[in-house]
Each structure stands twice: as structure tokens, then as C-alpha cells.
């Protein structure tokens, strides 16, 4: 088995919080911010592409690949990068294309939680079990995201319970869970393959 970006077998307990968050030095902070900005850009670009979906009652089925971008940035560069990608990506998208910011930006922070949760663990992108872990944590993070989005909508936004549950939570869950569960490891593997081919030295040992 080849070494991944951060060998999970090295033991995450050995890493300080700053190291785990990839902000232990000015250079690392800069790289974390750069990864975040790159993630934000890719998120917005993908979000602009209309995605096919099918409704069954109030359940939406399809893929929302932009969500997986948030997760994958967290997986690659840690929780801060994931948090920033989710927060800024969704915020800037609404700001740029709908001239709108809702809920004192808290709903956007909820999307950041997805990236944050995924970023809390380390992954070996050549290892199937590690990718399964990535999928599971993506799903867990996304469940937190959905719950936060709904709670913020119901409390701060004044959204009706019918809308919050029926028109937000159900479709978001059913379209988001398969997206982050299946697309995040695929994107991770794709990213790893591209980096290995073109920038192998950039892969952390």
C-alpha cells in the first residue's frame, strides 16, 4: 500500500490540533486558504451547472456534486479548509448569483460543517477502507449540515415547519446523502490520480 496524503496509520493522536487543522505555520495557513479558495471556485463553477434530478413525492433523487467538493476539500486539506469552502462557497454563490445573504450567513456555515467534519479525520486515498471512512464521515457531516440548515431556517428564517421539513429537509437529504457518500471518494481518487501524475511532490508524505 502506498503512502497517502496523511497516513492514517501514523495515528492522528500524534498530531496537534493546529497540525490537524493544517494551520500550524504561516505557510500552512496560506496553503489552507489557497486550497479553500480553489475549493470555493470549483464549488461555484459546479453549482452553476444544472443537475438532473427526479422527484418522488417530496424526495429528490439525483446528485449534487458541488456538495462533494466541500467534503473533498476537507478530506484533502483538513477541517478549516473544508469549513471555509462550504461557508464561502455557498455564501459567494448566493451573493454573486442571487444578490442574497440569508440568516446572518449561518445557513452557509452549516454547509461548512460538512467540510469540517470530513476534515477531522485523515485518509489514505489508495485504501478502500479509508475511502469508506471518508464516505461515512461525509454522510455524517451532511446530516449535521441538513439539521442545522433546517433549524436555522425554522428559527431565524421564520420558515414554516411544512416548508422546513417537506421542501428543505427531505429533498436536501435525499439528494445530498448519495452525493457526498458516493461522489466524495470518487473525487478523492480522481484528485489523487491527477496529483500523482502531474504534481507528485505536492502530495504530502
Amino acid at each position: 500500500m502506498s503512502e497517502g496524503i496523511a497516513d492514517e496509520h501514523q495515528g492522528t493522536n500524534d498530531l496537534s490540533v493546529l497540525e490537524k487543522f493544517q494551520v500550524q505555520s504561516p505557510e500552512m495557513i496560506l496553503w489552507t486558504i489557497l486550497y479553500s479558495l480553489l475549493g470555493v471556485g470549483i464549488y461555484i463553477l459546479i453549482e452553476l451547472i444544472p443537475m438532473p434530478y427526479t422527484m418522488v413525492s417530496l424526495f429528490a433523487f439525483g446528485f449534487a456534486p458541488a456538495l462533494a467538493i466541500i467534503a473533498i476539500v476537507g478530506a484533502i486539506r483538513g477541517p478549516i479548509a473544508g469549513l471555509l469552502t462550504g461557508y464561502l462557497g455557498t455564501l459567494l454563490y448566493d451573493l454573486l448569483f442571487y444578490s442574497t445573504v440569508v440568516g446572518m450567513t449561518l445557513p452557509y456555515l452549516a454547509y461548512g460543517v460538512l467540510g469540517f467534519v470530513v476534515g477531522l479525520a485523515s485518509y489514505d486515498m489508495t485504501n478502500g477502507r479509508s475511502l469508506v471512512k471518508m464516505s461515512v464521515l461525509s454522510a455524517v457531516g451532511f446530516v449535521f449540515t441538513v439539521l442545522l440548515v433546517v433549524v436555522i431556517g425554522l428559527t431565524l428564517g421564520g420558515v414554516s415547519t411544512l416548508v422546513g421539513i417537506g421542501f428543505v429537509m427531505l429533498p436536501l437529504l435525499t439528494i445530498g446523502l448519495p452525493s457526498v457518500f458516493f461522489l466524495t471518494p470518487l473525487f478523492a481518487r480522481l484528485w489523487y490520480a491527477v496529483m500523482l501524475k502531474f504534481m507528485p511532490k505536492a502530495l504530502p508524505q
Binding site: 502506498s2 444544472p50 438532473p52 434530478y53 427526479t54 422527484m55 413525492s57 417530496l58 429528490a60 433523487f61 439525483g62 446528485f63 455557498t90 454563490y93 448566493d94 451573493l95 442571487y98 444578490s99 442574497t100 445573504v101 440569508v102 440568516g103 445557513p107 489508495t126 485504501n127 478502500g128 477502507r129 475511502l131 469508506v132 464516505s135 440548515v149 431556517g153 428564517g157 421564520g158 420558515v159 414554516s160 411544512l162 416548508v163 421542501f167 428543505v168 429533498p171 448519495p178 458516493f182 461522489l183 471518494p185 470518487l186 481518487r189
Partner: protein, 541 residues
């Protein structure tokens, strides 16, 4: 390392491909091709002309199917169920939607479009005398127990008779019916409805400026300068329709009803009395004690007559208001008092809008129940807000509301690909035609104030498509460019189709890509263009 060595990735990839295939749908329809061509040094840029897109035409075809595939006294296609009392509104607003559609392609006026509007007017005017209980007159008037009505004592036959389906206290039907007629005349110039339309406008004038017996009276019969419905409440929204109709009537027939001040008292009443604390409109003002009133409107609320309609959910006498009332009124009164709509629109958005996310929002039905959703008022407020937002040029709000309204439903295309609708059966089948209609209304480039103006001078002499193989074509743009004396036609042809163009005074030639495509063939005084399957941006000179 290979995929073969990683079963999870292979499984994820396979699942992704299969799942994506199974859930493929609801993508946006194709954009209309808007090319440019130069003929004799004149540049014809199709993006400069109003256009429809593929989905709008498919939605129109769906609406047309609902209207024309049942008898005029049958209403089964509309899935009204428990909402049959809203049917006549459905017909009326569908007609306004169709008018905005027709106005986008004013050079395409075949029986296919004309008969759709004509049939809708016939449905709206189904009477008990002709169709018994299968009529709008029965559903909208008689079944509610309003057949006869008098003023000032509603039940005293020696007083002024103000009852009857055709008014004057049924403005929620007469206003809409007259506007449907006026728009038909505006769109198709058939003169079929002129006499009846004129009768309605005269009758309103009599109600608004006299005591009903012909003696001049400020505020008219009911002292408000407005006409009631239900039949003892004046509503700003219901009166906005005959006000708009009067404007259109004046513009078409060069009369001066508006200038005469026919609606001045009522407009002032709406603006100064019928508003709530935020200066938005209240939802009704009682001019007479309702028949059967027992001293309470529910929750112990006592009605003061004359006085504002009160919110039935509270016992503190607060006025009833609704987002649909305000949005509808602001939409239809913008032509008459644009400054009021411009001033009130941001207040309306601030008070009633509920942000679901950055991409989605809806309108609360009432300030007294902010955030609620699920009642007809919530849905109506959201629909009308979208039409108003388009009119105000607020494309962001239009998009956010449209995202909220349409994203929960699958687009359903007919087998032949000619029709499309949103499948709303998970919420309410009645929403299906409503959704289709409002989707067209919210997305065509024509607004309600645009429809208040008559056609330009000379319009009826402009060349236009008078006959066509309508079932085989998609007309995205069709209009006469009077500045360049050219007919602009953007069309998709499914099967070889012929189009007959009238009003050309010479044998015209169709140009495509700046070069002659075909010379039209004379057929009597008209000219026929035959097109093979394909998409064409044509300039016909």
C-alpha cells in the same frame, strides 16, 4: 494501484452511473437560438426582439389542451376538486397569461391561438340558463346564495336591485370577464365583444358615479367609489381588474372614462382608507352587513360596517390583509398609479417574503401568520408576488420564487413532446394548471402594464401568420419590424409545414443567414412559406 484493487471505488462508480441514469430528468429546456444576419446592410439581431422558449410553448400547448379538449361547460381538466369556487379566477388569469404569451409573438395569429382564448371566454360565460349547474354562473354565484340582492337593504325587493350574476355587485366575475373580452379584442381585433364590453364599462360608470338611479353621487352607490362582490365587500384586488379594463378600453376605443374621473374616488379610497399599518392594502372593506351575519366573525371579532374586513383569527379587530391581495393589486394598478406600486413593492417584499435559502423564497399568506405555508393564500401570494416581481424588473426575486415553486415537481412531457406540465399531484392536482400558467406569466417578457396599451397605429395592417400547420411548429419569435419593414420569424419545424402570411403587398422572400432561402408562393392575396424540418431564424422581406 488500479480500480480493480479497490472494490469500494468500483462499487461507488457503478452506483453513481446507474443512479444518475435512473434519476435523469428535470433539466432546463433548450435555449432559443437567437442569431443575427445582415441583409442589404441592415443588421437583424434576433436577440433584440421578444422571444418565447421551448418550455413556454410546451406549457402553452398543455394549457391549450386543458381548454380545448373538453366541452365549455365541463371543468374536469382543471382538477379543481374542492377549489371549484376558484375556477373562474383560474380561467381569467389563464387568459391574462395567454395574452402575455400572444403579445410576445404578435405576428402569429392563427385559429390555434385565437380559438384558445375564445374558448376560455366561453367557459367563463357559461350560464345557468344554458348549462344548469354545470356553469360558472352556478358555481360562482347561485350556489353561494347570491341570486338577488338589493341596496341598501339586501333583502328588500323595493330597494335598488344590485344583484345578479352580471352585476353590479359581482365585480369578481364581471371585472374579469370584461377584461378577458378586452384583451381578446386587443390581441385579435374581432369586434365580437365590443358591445358587451361597452355595456359593462357603462354599467360600472353608472355604479361609481351615480346613486344607481342616474343621479350623480360622489362615491357612487356604495359611497366608496368601488364596486363590491361577495356581494357586500369591496376589494382592492377585485376592483383593480375593472380599473385596468377601463384603461385598456380607453386606449383601444379612444374613450375618456378614466379621464372623466370614473375611478378617482375609488382609487383615493383604496389608497387612503383601505390600507394597513405598513401602507399595504387590506383584504376587503364591508359596505353592508352580510346576509346571515350573527354578530361575530369568529373568535369573537365584531364587524363594524361600513369598515375594514377583520382578521378572523384574532379578536382584537385587526384588519384582514394578505400577500396575494397586495401583490395582485399592485400588479394591476401599476399602469394607473405606477408611483404607488414602485413605492410599495419593497415594503411588500420586506413584510411578506420568507427566505428559504439564498436560492429560494416564498411569500407568507398573511402578516398575522408570518412564515406559514400550506394555505391557498400562501400559495396565491407567492404566485402573484412572482408576477409582480417580474413586472418590477426584479429578476432575482422571480428566480428565487420560481426555484421554490417548481423545483419540488417533475416536469412531465407528453409522448409527442408537444406539451409539458409540472406534476403537482403530490401536493394538489389543482396546482398543475396554476403552476403552468404562472410559470408562463413569470417568464415571458410581457408585463401587465404592457397589455394596457392598445396596439400601435397600423398594427392590424402589418404582415402576420394567419394560417399554419400549428401542430408541427414551434414559434419562438414572430413579429413585424416596422422600422425595417421586415417580418421576423424564429421557428422550429418538426415536420414539413406551411405557413400562410397575410398583409404583404408584394411577393416576399425569406432570408436565412443573410441569403435568400425561399420566395413565398402567392395564394390569393396571401403568401405561403413551406419549411422542412429544422430551426430557422428568418427575415421575410
Amino acid at each position: 494501484m488500479s480500480l480493480r484493487e479497490n472494490k469500494f471505488i468500483v462499487a461507488a462508480l457503478v452506483f453513481t452511473i446507474v443512479f444518475a441514469g435512473l434519476t435523469f430528468g428535470n433539466l432546463p429546456g433548450p435555449e432559443t437560438a437567437l442569431g443575427s444576419q445582415t441583409i442589404d446592410n441592415v443588421v437583424y439581431n434576433f436577440a433584440d426582439y421578444p422571444s418565447l422558449n421551448h418550455e413556454q410553448i410546451a406549457l402553452f400547448n398543455y394549457m391549450r389542451g386543458l381548454i380545448t379538449t373538453e366541452e365549455v361547460n365541463s371543468f374536469d381538466n382543471w382538477n379543481a376538486g374542492g377549489f371549484s369556487g376558484l375556477l373562474h379566477y383560474m380561467f381569467a388569469f389563464t387568459d391574462y397569461v395567454l395574452s402575455s404569451y400572444f403579445e410576445t409573438i404578435p405576428g402569429y395569429r392563427t385559429d390555434y391561438t385565437r380559438n384558445t382564448a375564445h374558448t376560455l371566454i366561453k367557459k367563463m360565460n357559461t350560464t345557468v340558463a344554458e348549462y344548469g349547474n354545470d356553469s360558472v354562473e352556478y358555481i360562482e354565484w347561485e350556489s353561494r346564495g347570491y341570486p338577488d340582492y338589493y341596496w341598501p337593504n339586501a333583502t328588500d325587493p323595493t330597494d335598488l336591485f344590485v344583484g345578479g350574476f352580471r352585476g353590479p355587485t359581482n365585480i369578481m366575475w364581471t371585472g374579469h370577464y370584461a377584461l378577458m373580452q378586452a384583451l381578446h379584442e386587443r390581441c385579435f381585433n374581432t369586434d365580437e365583444y365590443v358591445d358587451e364590453l361597452t355595456w359593462f364599462v357603462d354599467d360600472w360608470n353608472n355604479s361609481l358615479t351615480t346613486d344607481g338611479y342616474g343621479n350623480a353621487t360622489e362615491g357612487g352607490i356604495w359611497g366608496t367609489g368601488l364596486i363590491p362582490c361577495e356581494p357586500y365587500i369591496v376589494f382592492a384586488q377585485c376592483n383593480s381588474i375593472p380599473i385596468f379594463t377601463t384603461e385598456l378600453y380607453d386606449n383601444i376605443y379612444d374613450t375618456q372614462y378614466m379621464e372623466s374621473g370614473m375611478w378617482d374616488y375609488g382609487l383615493n379610497f383604496i389608497n387612503t382608507v383601505m390600507h394597513e399599518e405598513y401602507d399595504l392594502f387590506i383584504d376587503g372593506y364591508y359596505v353592508q352587513v352580510p346576509i346571515g351575519y350573527t354578530g361575530s366573525m369568529g373568535s369573537g371579532t365584531v364587524l363594524t360596517v361600513p369598515g375594514p374586513a377583520v382578521s378572523r383569527g384574532f379578536d382584537d379587530g385587526r384588519a384582514a390583509e394578505s400577500s396575494y391581495c397586495t401583490a395582485w393589486t399592485l400588479t394591476f394598478l401599476e399602469y394607473t398609479q405606477p408611483e404607488r406600486t414602485i413605492e410599495d413593492y419593497p415594503v411588500f417584499l420586506e413584510k411578506y417574503s420568507v427566505p428559504v435559502s439564498g436560492e429560494q423564497m416564498y411569500m407568507s399568506g398573511s402578516l398575522n401568520d408570518y412564515g406559514s405555508f400550506g394555505s391557498p393564500n400562501d400559495m396565491l401570494g407567492t404566485f402573484f408576488a412572482c408576477a409582480l416581481a417580474k413586472q418590477r424588473g426584479d429578476s432575482v426575486t422571480v428566480q428565487r420564487i420560481q426555484n421554490f415553486l417548481t423545483s419540488p415537481y417533475n416536469k412531465v412531457w407528453s409522448a409527442d413532446g408537444r406539451e409539458m406540465h409540472y406534476d403537482t399531484t403530490s401536493l394538489s392536482p389543482f396546482l398543475q394548471p396554476v403552476m403552468a400558467g404562472f410559470r408562463i406569466w413569470a417568464t415571458t417578457p410581457v408585463t401587465i402594464p404592457d397589455l394596457a396599451d392598445a396596439r400601435p397605429i397600423g398594427f392590424w395592417d402589418y404582415p402576420y401568420i394567419s394560417q399554419a400547420d400549428d401542430e408541427d411548429i414551434w414559434v419562438y419569435q414572430a413579429l413585424w419590424d416596422d422600422d425595417n419593414s421586415a417580418f421576423i420569424l424564429n421557428i422550429k419545424v418538426d415536420q414539413t409545414a406551411t405557413l400562410t402570411l397575410s398583409n404583404f403587398d408584394h411577393a416576399p422572400t425569406a432570408y436565412s443567414g443573410g441569403v435568400p432561402l425561399s420566395e413565398l408562393v402567392a395564394a390569393g392575396s396571401d403568401y405561403v412559406l413551406t419549411l422542412s424540418p429544422g430551426i430557422y431564424n428568418l427575415v421575410i422581406l
